[in-house]
Structures are given as structure tokens and as C-alpha cells.
């Protein structure tokens, strides 16, 4: 039997969709560590040069981002490869969910308007400003939404729903009323 190496398949191969300078695009698959927030999580993150944000917010340091959409759950995005080992050594509970979550970016002046066709929580920049993260649903899909700019969102979907979520938002962009 020849030597067999497993090659990754991207969750989404769709090309970006743009409408009125607003673009929906799949993001490259990065590292996602799901952290159970307990006493000591903040200190453990600080030792990695990161910080535990308040509930509903996120913190970035270099390439890495910690988003905390719920009180007891945080997600460490694109941290150094040895971050999991360091956190485990610090007694933290975590699960590597790099393959669970698939991220889409939705950026542009009509991004919030498109999302509002699906997303129940308030997306007004005064209520949900850049740097904030929250959980809700896109139809039946449980998602996490990170706003990383006034007109820039990252939406995290479970992998099995990624195609459906992308198609739904692409259709929404198409259906937005003309000005």
C-alpha cells in the first residue's frame, strides 16, 4: 500500500459575492480554541500576551483574537500553535474546534443591513460596536458574530451549515433593495 497522506478540503470553495461594495467571502480556515471560562482563564491568557475580554466583547493582540460571546465561553482565534498546550498546562479546559467553526466575512456599507435579514440581536453600531461578539442564529444555524470594524463582520458557522449559510447570505445580498 503506498504511503497515504491526508489532504484538507476547505469547507467552502465559493467565490466572494459583492453587491454595492459589500462583500461576502469565505475566510481561510484558522485555529479556533474553545475555552471554558473559569477562574484563572484571564491570568492564563495574560501569560500568553492576551487578555480575557468582558462578556460580549473581544480583544486582539497581534494575530490572535479572544472573543467572548457568552460569560462562560471564550474563543481564542489564530493564536500561536503552542497556545493550547500552554493553556492546558495552566489547568484550563479547552477544545480545539478549528474544524468545527467555519468563518465568513461580510464587509461593506450594507453588511449590517444584509445581516439584519437574519440576525435577531441589534446590529446598530452604538449597541454592537466594533470589537463586540455575540451568539444568535442564522435561521436554524447557531452562529457567533464578531464585529471587527464598523462595516466588517466575521460570522462563525458550524461546518455542516457553512454552504447553506453562505448561500443564504449571498441570496440576501442579491435581494437587498436598490437605493
Amino acid at each position: 500500500v503506498p504511503e497515504i497522506i491526508l489532504t484538507a478540503t476547505p469547507a467552502l470553495s465559493q467565490t466572494p459575492v459583492t453587491r454595492d461594495a459589500t462583500t461576502l467571502a469565505p475566510l481561510p480556515e484558522g485555529r479556533v480554541l474553545t475555552l471554558v471560562v473559569t477562574r484563572g482563564t484571564g491570568a492564563a491568557l495574560v501569560r500568553l500576551g492576551l487578555a480575557l475580554p468582558a462578556t460580549g466583547e473581544s480583544q486582539s493582540a497581534g494575530e490572535a483574537t479572544v472573543m467572548r460571546p457568552g460569560a462562560d465561553r471564550a474563543y481564542l482565534l489564530d493564536a500561536a500553535p503552542d497556545a493550547a498546550t500552554a493553556l492546558l498546562a495552566a489547568g484550563q479546559r479547552l477544545v480545539d474546534q478549528s474544524d468545527y467553526w467555519v468563518a465568513l466575512s461580510l464587509t461593506g456599507p450594507r453588511a449590517a443591513e444584509a445581516l439584519a435579514r437574519h440576525w435577531k440581536p441589534d446590529l446598530d453600531a452604538a449597541v454592537f460596536p466594533a470589537g463586540h461578539a455575540t451568539r444568535s442564529t442564522l435561521g436554524p444555524i447557531a452562529c457567533i458574530l464578531l464585529r471587527y470594524g464598523t462595516e466588517a463582520f466575521r460570522l462563525f458557522l458550524p461546518r455542516s451549515f457553512a454552504r447553506a449559510g453562505f448561500a443564504e447570505l449571498a441570496e440576501t445580498l442579491h435581494r437587498l433593495p436598490g437605493d
Partner: protein, 962 residues
Amino acid sequence: MTGPFRLAGAAGAPIGFRFNGRAMTGRARDTLAAALLANGQRIVGRSFKYHRPRGILSAGPEEPNALVTLGTGAEAEPNTRATVVELHEGLEAFSQNHLGPLTHDLMAVNDLFSPILGAGFYYKTFMWPRAFWEKLYEPAIRRAAGLGALSGHADPGLYDRGYLHCDVLVIGAGPAGLAAALAAAESGARVLIADEDNRPGGRLLAEPQTVEGMAGADWARVAWDRLGEMPNVRRMPRTTVFGSFDHGVYGAVELAASGTPADMPRQVMWRVYARRAVLCAGATERPLVFPGNDRPGVMLAGAVDAYLERWKVAAGRRVAVMTNHAGGAGLAERLRAAGVEVAAVLAAETGEGIAATRGRKGLSAIRLESGRWLDCDALAVGGGWSPNLQLTGHAGARPVWHADIQAFVPGDSLPPGMTVAGAASGDFALPDCLSGGDAAGAAAAEALGFAPRPRVYTATGEGYMPAPVWRTGPKDGRAFVDLQHDVTVKDIALAHREGFVAVEHLKRYTTLGMATDQGKTSNVPGLAILSQLTGRSIPDTGTTRYRPPATPVTIGALAGRERGRDFKPYRYTPAHDWAVAMGASMVESGLWLRAEWFAEAGETGWRDSVDREARSVRETVGICDVSTLGKIDIQGRDATRFVDFVYCNGFAKLAVGRVRYGLMLREDGMVMDDGTCARLAEDHYLMTTTTANAASVYRHLEFVRQVLHPDWDVHLVPETDGWSQFSVAGPRARDLLARLVDAPFDISNEGFPFMACADLTICGGTRARLFRISFSGELAYEIAVPARYGNALAAALTTAGADLGVLAYGVEALDVMRMEKGHPSGNELNGQTAPRHLGMGRMASQAKDYIGRACAALSHVDGAEDVELVGVVPVDRGKALLNGAHILAPGAAATLENDEGWMSSVSFSPQLGHHIGLAFIRRGQARMGERLRAVDLLRESDVEIELVPTHFFDPEGGRLRA
């Protein structure tokens, strides 16, 4: 000019449209009703019950008569109110509810029988013979009475949904709404203002009043533009707020503008989350009730005014006016000023009422109570106004009666956060509407911490106090109260005589107010007439309860995108592309798409493929995508206690590196789910669930964690989507996997025995998990890799096992093999079975506490308390078994009393060469060898069966431990 009744000064470009195929011309800003009136179209439809000719009554959403079908073919939209349809080029409209031409409706014969077709006629008449109801009476009645017909085709229009948030929702963009929105918005609050009309202004468009020195319509446009300049305001014309729900949630439907392309949504259903709401929905004018009041040409006075002022259309050549307040004279003056002849101005409050009317296809004359006939082709009727307070009552609040305006107004008990202003609150004078709107908008903003600045508006306009006059003319005349449902004064009197004197009973007995217009113009006159009959006051009589939607909402808008293929999204497994490339036939399993079988060349049906797959797995090795099984990561110091508590069988002693089958019960002792749970580390488990119950089990576990044992250190992470998992089953399974696992992992039977689990790497370093578990009864494993490697893992298994005869198999073969092994599945774990029904009673621990223990001895299904799962084979092995068949004793009649149980799963077993089944049969375990019958009357099957143990194949389990 665009039509013989169009007056000078009309704005908007000419537009061509058709009504019942007749070409007509309207104007760009017309409603269909305005354009029809301008063209002299008096009859626009036939009434619901008596098929009487009906014309346009109103100029707004309250319209009971002018219901039309728009468009043709699949796009046809029935029951649309012509008074709110925006005219556009090429619009085609059709009248409804007639047999033959609109002007010569053959069903008008119903009207001849009207003396015997009163309220309750159907209930009393069609009682016998009973069998005639479904086959004769009901179809005949449905043909004779009704509205428009559905096209019979799927609606090709697109619908959407969305969510909006605001500080202050202003419902209505009339003078009060505009003032409220300005007050709130200028203080900095986030304002959403919605109005069902395509133009803002409300009654300002219909009456020649002035605001701030400007014509009312101009002021409305300026105010609207001012709101549009503010970034904190969202203006939503063509948007009807139809419901008020808990927690400040409002439902609204936004219609697309005319001319919107077909690939854009025609309606959007919005859920609006509002911290405060100001209801400025205006008021609806009521007609007066008098004999012959339903002829085309009888219109609401305010509508005559609106057609005159807004659309420059005369309601007739010679118009009479009758009101029960002082406002009739002003309308008459405006009509005269526009060149329309006024036949009479009647003050009903002084006894100048109408006793009869004439005109077969439209009003031609009225007879005064004095007996004098007056020629006229239109009659403007004003009976006062009812505030549009429906949204205040959706949460159950009752309005209160204000005798000075003869109307119900909102009471003190409003939905939280809602205030009411303008005519909706009973303020009918324009200056009061403006000041009330401003105050309400400011108060709403102030309550949220903003600092509004009060405004003072100058405006003309006065409110008229209607007299308590509801009807004129002789009492025995045929006078309609509810025009849409053809309910007359006589019907109300009959209801009163028969004891239906409560207003809710009156409604149900006569159908008053139950039509699509929800009695907007008829409810108050109806209960006023009832109160006259009973001698009670109107407030004592009360009003019916308001329920959403306040105006009709299409089913399409409620469904949004969720219809057809888009009803629910598909979920794809990580190896979906591989399965498709392998030629899999896919099946929906919940939201998932799963491979049901992989057909090969020459196979002529699904049985060929499934039989081959099941047989080959037991001979060589097969792989099956089981990624859809739910996976839940469980960690924490108390993880073992937790797992032990949620399963009924023991887990406390499960060693690290071992897997165990678990049965999970609900609190009521019934089986909720089954699966395996692997102990990956001292405080770390991975639970698998069935595909169907993945979400419900996770929810259940979170309930246990957060509510029942918040003191335990346990953490749950759903992991289903993170892994691609394959079952590798068959005698050569170990040989196949041995080629993929990285050294030094020992996959020998000794090194990795039955029910072992391990973290490992495969294919030169890819992270993986291996479980030695079997659903098929074969030597079997489940191997999992991170989801991104799903396609690659499947390809690797087929490549590496080519010389071993590896094959891909689908869920059908999986199901066949589990039945051959007697494993229960979804058909057996149906929510009504406990462990003892499944032959697993001994699994339920006696030595620990667990969820469901307290009720484990109970049964919740009458007659099924003592059923037990057994195997079944046909005595004549050539016969097929049918799922769902009921079990009867030989010779027993097929009655409920003789029912011995049911067949839950059946399959043809390629291994045994005949059908096998699993069945729940009363005391089945003690009846092995007994012969019974499996009877399916629907499919005309009656098969003699023999009860056997559930393990049809390899009962000793030697193969899975090999």
C-alpha cells in the same frame, strides 16, 4: 383627463391598466380604487353571501367591498383591497365572486332567497341527512359564497423576513405620527416610522387643512424629508404594523413598490424590537345604517373627500351627503367648489335620515324619511369615527367608551412601552393630533433618557362630535351593517331574539366583523344596534377582542424564504463530496444529506445495492460515513458523576480508554436516546448521540448541568461538526485500519480490544480518534479525523483497502445489519418505550440515582404497558413483512381490543435470505416460538409470523470480538 370622473388638477403621469379585461387609464399616484372611480366603474365586486352588486366604500385599508384579484396565472393574488393597491402600468385586476359577467351575476339569485338566508340559516337547515353535509351542502355553499379563488399554482413571488430595532417605533405617518417621529428623532432617539400608505400624511392628503402655514400635504412631505435627513431615522412607507406582541415586539409587513423586479421580494415581514412605541394609526370612519345602504355609490364621507382632494376624482356627478355630525357641510362646500353638484346635505342627528335607496347597478336616488325622493349617483355617509386601536388590544387590553365622540378609545392598560396619540386616541382635531403626537414622541424619547424639546404647531382643522345616531329609516328595511359578510340589522335582531346577546356570541352567530376587514367599519355600528335592542349601554355591551393581524397578511409573507427546497437548509458531512463522486444516492436525514446506498453498474433497484452492500460488509470490509451522529465533549472534575447520572446504566467504573453503550432516559422513565460514551481521560468523555437527537440531548445535558447540578464542575462543548467519522466494519476492518494508523499504535485484538478507544495519529501524523464499537455486529471500528480531512479519509480508506475488497455502504445497509443484530433504532426508541420494553430492563441500574429512575416502572401508553421487543420471521419465508403491521392472534378479528402489538422495523436480510422484523408484542419475551399474525389492513397484508429472539445473526457476538 384620465376618466370621466377625473377633476382638474390631477398629478401623475397617465398609466394604462385593465379591469376585467377592459382597458382604462389612471394616474401614477392613483390607487386602483381611485382609478376605477375616475373611469366611472361603479360595481367592482359581488357581495359574499347574496351576490349583491357592490362598489367602493372607502379610500383605505378598511375597505369591505372592493376586493379584487390582481394578475393572472400563478401570479394571481386574490382578495386584494383596491383601495390600497398602487396603480402601475399594465396592472390587471379582476372582480371576484360572481358567475358570469360582473353586472349579470347568475349567483345573484341568492338575493331572492335572502328572507330565509338569515343568520344561523346553515346551522339550522343543513342538519340532515347528516351524510349530505360533506358531499352536497358544504361544496354547494362554498361555491356560492366566498371571496376570490387561489390560482392553484405555487406563488412565484419572493418573500423575505428581517429584524429591526429602534428606540421609538411610530406607527402611522399622519400628522400625529410625523409630529411624534420628529419629536423623538430630533432628541437623538433611534426612530422607525412606518405607514401602510405609499405617501406620508394620512388625512392631511385628504383634507384641505394647513399646518405651519403650509398645505397639510406639503407639510407632511417636508416633515418626511426632514426625517429622511436624520441618520437615526428609518422611514418605512408601504409598511403595515399588523401585530403587537410581548416584550415590545411588533410585526410589520413591507410591500415592495410597484414595478419592483420579479427577482426581488414583493413583501418583507419585519419583526420590530421597539423600546417604546407611539401608536398614531388614525381612525376609521363608520357608515350610517339605513335601508339600501349597500348600493354602489354609497361611500364614506371621508373617502369622498379623499378622492376629491388627493386624487382629484369625483365620487359622482350629483352627490348627497348625510352625516351625524357637523362635518357634512364642509364636504358639500368642497364638492361644490370642485364643480360637483350636491343633491342634499342631511343632518342625521336632526332626524334628516334616509329611508330607502334606488338603483339596480348603482345608486340613482335616495328617499328621505319625509318620503321625498332625490336623484343622486353618490352618497357620502359619515357616522363618526372609530380610533384604530387594534394594536393596543393584542395583549388583552380592553378599550373604554367615550360618549363625547361615540367611540372606544384605548384604556389605561396598554402594552408596556406603548402610548397612543392623534385620532387613534380619540383626538380628531388636527391641532390636537399634532400636539398629541409631539407630546407622545417626546415622552417616549424622554423615558429612554433623551432630552426632547417641545414644539408648538399651528394648524387649522376641527374635530366633529358625532351624535349617537347609528341608523336611519324604517326598522323593517334591509339595512346592511357588515358589508363584507352581508350581515343586516335583521340578522342582529334575530341573534338578539335567539339569545345571542353577548357581543362575542353576536359575532360568532351572525359572523359580524369576522370577514377579512375584521369589521373595521361594522363592529361599532353592530354593537350599537345590539345595545339598542337589549337596552344596555354601549360600554355595557362591550366590544369584541382584537387579535393579530390587524390587517390581512399573506401566507407568503409569513413563510418568507422558508418554502420548497429552502424550507430548511441542508447539512453536509465533511465527506459529502467524496460520497457524491462515488455515485451515492443521497437521502435527507433530519437536515443532513446522507448516502443511502452506492449503486453499481448493472444494479436495477435499491434492493440490489443494499443487499450487496450488507452482504459484502459481512464478507470483507465496508466504510460508512457516520459523521452525523451527535458528539458532545464533556470535561470537568465531576464529568464521571455527570455521565453516570444522565445514563441509566452504570458509568462510574468505566476505565480510561474504554467505551460503553449508554441508555439515556427522560424524567418520565422513557428512553430519550442511546449511544456510546468514550472515556478519553480521567475527567474527559466524548458522548455520541443518535443523529436525530443530537440537539435535544445537548439541550438536555445543559439543563442537567445548569439547573439540576450547577454545583458540579462539568463543561459541555458540542463537537458534531468538528469531526469526520467513518464506521469501518467487516472481517477485514482491522487489516484495513492497520495500514493507516501510525506506529507504534497497537491495533491488534489484544492491544485494542472490543470497546476500546484511543487518541492517535494516522497517515503520517493526522490527529485521529479510534473507537472499537460495532452497530453492524461485525468486527468494526469508528475512526474520526478533523472534519477538513473527511474527504481525504474516505478516499484513503478506499485506496488502502482496494485489495481487501473494501466498499462504501450507506445508511440502508447499516439499517439492515443493525436489524440482523437486533439493535433498536429510531423506530424502537420512539419516545414511548422504556428499557424494559426494549428488553434492556436489566441495564437500568438499581445501585445508583439517574434521570428517569423514579418513573422507570411506569407506563404512559394505555394498552402498551407490557409490550416487549422481540424478533419476528414470516412462517412462510417467502413472504414479506410490513413495517407498522399490527400483531393479532390466529383467527382474531382485527379490532383494537385484540391488538397484541406492532411491527416497528422490518427488512429483508440478505444474510438469512428472508424478511426479518422487530416487533413490540405483549409479553413477547415469554412467547418465543409462538405463531401470530402481522396484519396491515391498509396494505391488505396478513402474514403468519413466528416470534424469535432479536439477535438474528451471530447471537453470541463472536464476530465483533474477533
